[in-house]
Homo-oligomer: 341 residues x 2
């Protein structure tokens, strides 16, 4: 059986010291300069690379953190991932990405890996509010930060956007633009973002009921946060006897699907108003340009990582939830029904 090419013992022997001293050289213990020197040299000559497993096993903590996201093909999450990476960059930590694919089973497996590999920390955008069990990690004392999505019985720090408020502002904007039959395509039940953006929509419609706006859920559809789901939901809405004249779509990918379905039916914004929660990727290419609730994806990742790092450094501050502001960016797709109807 093949074994570790060169271990700390080999270095120790080559440098004429004990393994303990070699370890101290690499971990900032007190060693006389000339000894340190010769250890460094021996290590370099032998091409010594420390066995991180052994190190982590002993230290009860590895030096990688896990970022678990539900959809790696969604630019929102990849941008968030960049934020996490950039924050971790300044430390010696490595970030590994795990794609749960909105699947609680896969997610559970990754959480087990994170636990079993003694990862130093975990940032998770939960696939589900209820089925995501962070208990074992927390029990083990592993720092955990929830990002974007909030697990239900959250005994963890969290970083998220003001989803409900954003949904409300978005819907209000559609009303002000003159749309009257406003639909909402939202994500799966059980995802907090899904629910809260929808709650914002409902609140705005409810507030406008005196103007004869219906606030029942006839125009609400739950889909899957993906392109296909958005397309299917939009088709359904267009097939109604009295189709909506605007749609608030609660994520970027579903907006793409919805736009497809609209094009297919020969309708285009702003004749039918379209408003996306979260910028559509490479929005510059989309004509007409899209009104969207801008989601600070990168900053969410960044903030989550900062919080995690604080905890890893031992901060015992009470649990906190950081809420980042969204901003409505008004463009052509919600110019109002009269403009082109």
């Amino acid at each position: 059986m093949r074994t570790q090419v060169v271990t700390i013992h080999d270095v120790a022997r080559a440098a004429g010291v004990s393994p303990a001293t070699v370890s101290r050289v690499f971990n900032g213990g007190r060693v006389t300069p000339e000894r340190a020197q010769s250890v460094q040299q021996a290590a370099a000559e032998l091409g010594f690379a420390p066995n991180r497993l052994a190190r982590s096993l002993r230290k009860q903590r590895s030096s990688v953190i896990a970022l678990i996201i539900p959809d790696i093909e969604n630019p929102f999450f990849t941008s968030l991932a960049r934020g996490v990476e950039d924050a971790a960059q300044r430390t010696s930590l490595s970030v590994v990405l795990c794609n749960s694919d909105e699947d609680t089973d896969k997610e559970r497996r990754y959480l087990e890996v994170a636990l079993g590999e003694q990862m130093a920390g975990v940032i998770v955008a939960a696939a589900s509010q209820d089925d995501t069990d962070l208990g074992p990690l927390i029990a083990r004392g592993v720092p955990v930060v929830a990002v974007d999505r909030r697990p239900h019985d959250a005994e963890v720090d969290a970083v998220r956007a003001d989803d409900q408020h954003g949904g409300e502002v978005a819907t209000r904007h559609l009303l002000q633009a003159g749309y009257r039959r406003i639909a909402c395509i939202t994500g799966p039940e059980g995802a907090s973002t899904s629910e809260e953006r929808l709650a914002g929509y409902r609140a705005a419609l409810h507030a406008a009921r005196s103007e004869g706006i219906a606030a029942d859920d006839a125009y609400v559809r739950h889909a899957d946060f993906r392109v296909e789901g958005g397309r299917a939901a939009m088709r359904e809405l267009l097939a109604l006897p009295e189709p909506p004249d605007a749609v608030f779509v609660t994520n970027n990918l579903m907006t793409i699907g919805a736009l497809d379905a609209l094009a297919e039916a020969g309708r285009t914004p702003p004749g039918v108003g379209v408003l996306s929660f979260g910028d559509v990727p490479w929005a510059s290419l989309v004509r007409p340009s899209l009104t969207a609730v801008e989601l600070p994806s990168y900053e969410l990742g960044r903030a989550a990582a900062d919080l995690l790092l604080q905890r890893m450094e031992g901060s015992a501050a009470p649990l906190q939830t950081v809420v980042l502001r969204t901003r409505l960016q008004i463009r052509e797709s919600t110019a109002g029904p009269v403009a082109s109807d």
Copy 2:
């Protein structure tokens, strides 16, 4: 100091057997059924989760594989990642993603992590042809597969697309469509995909030199495979005394930048022909629709993972390179200069 919540010893004690037996229960050794039963039960009651570090340390091999990609924000690579995951899915392996950000330093760090964590295998889309050093991994006997990009002194299995051929077909198509001053925006020098797609372009132009097509590199620009780089390169080309009438862009993101720059200059395809190597994400929203060399991103990941799994099972077949076919998908953006000039 906090220690592992429950170890194999605790389970052993609870079940009245030795640790060795517990291990055998979980690893398919021979154990009498009733003993196995009581071990299972004890483990469940105590909430035993094996320490994967200790296991990997002893086995000299962990059960995760690393996928190192140069740009997590490029949908091509995320789709490739999905392919890898789906293939790994059927085994007990977990995939962790590492984003090297086209930065050989970051990449080196991740390669060190893969080595130090004794990962079971590595799939890498190299940030550079020359500076990516897979030597240590190979020396350690870790299976490695290069995907998409080919490291230069490749002592590894590889899976890639027929880049040169695709580039040639693409350029020929532009010529046939009637374009005469065809530019090429390609990626960084040192990336094999960059070079080979460019080589295809050159070959096609060279073959057409009898028709008075210039085959010097006056219209060639190297950029960074990102949106910004594509935009800048296109601006430069448009500022030439005699700007090109078509452009072959060697990746999807740079195409987006190029389209932006064109729009900014008031030009649109197919007046200026635009052909992308690799589908632009959510191409359905782009008007006019884009001619592209379709790159089987998902299948590349899938094939790479399959190859890696074979090696991990001990296949001693000679090194192989799998080349997947690309396909030119003709759409509106290369309809020809006369059509709208």
